[in-house]
Amino acid sequence: MSIVVIGGTKGGVGKTTLATNLAVMRSRAKKDVLLVDADEQGSATDFTAVRNETLENQGGAGYTSIKLHGSAVRSEVLRLAPKHDDTVIDVGGRDTAGQRAALSIADIYLIPVFPGSFDIWTLESVAQLVEEARAFNEKIQAFCLLNKADPKGADNEEAAAIAREIAGLIYLDCPIVNRKAFRNGAAKGLAVMELKPSDSKAIEEIEKLYKLVFTSKKKSK
């Protein structure tokens, strides 16, 4: 059983896209998944609603979706997580009580970051938040990765170089490129590997992340 939190303090970096794709992929691996929408925008809940409609004849979303806020993220997930194989929590892009509550119980904290200066700069404050959370949650492992990355050019590597220097965060070398397949999937409530026609590069990237999150052995820094 693992609790995976997709967070950070910057909005619009694709947290919900990663959270929903990972939740769907985990459920396709026959795992009983709980997807927690702890973002006030409720996009993960919207995704699930659309997914239920799209897959109405195939049994619906394939995972359990709930919406929680504030300290209820901690108390309810502590109660519900043991009843599921894995829990994926999508939190909003601000330092909220909900995000902190999620950090206090997370096994894995994934911080997607756009390869731009303003976004990369937020990693230091996120690392500080993780350090505070460690006082109450020793098991937390915090990873950052580039999301909505450029298909090519030097910005990705420059951003990665800065991200690698942030103490307390482990940089995952699996950039997810800004691809239309993710947006098309979101519109239909589908993960990228469920989309037709398929985008092999998008699938390859998200599968690499999935393996690092769910099947890799625990990392240490």
């Binding site: 973002d39 006030e40 806020h69 504030g70 300290s71 209820a72 901690r74 909003g92 601000r94 330092d95 909220t96 009580a97 909900g98 995000q99 902190r100 509550a101 206090s104 505070e132 959370a133 006082a135 109450f136």
Partner: protein
Amino acid sequence: MAIRRKPSTVEEFINAGGSPAGVSVSPSPEVQMSPEAPKLEKKEEETIAVTLRVPKDLLAELDAAAKNCRPKRSRNSWILEAIIEKLEQENKSE
């Protein structure tokens, strides 16, 4: 340099985070109560969500002030402190 104490309990750590929808912002200098609006965290304490309309430049000033506080304040905490200070001031002058 001010020294910030680490939160001593998990509740303290969680509550140090900002409220997700307690304060939303649009550029108009009015305060509007919306009791039907977000029911977030209602269970935890007796709070009510308020939609606060703030001019953009004032908000930027507010955020900068909150950020420069030691320890750093969330926008919500900063506004709450300002309200409390104002109320105390009003009460004193009565």
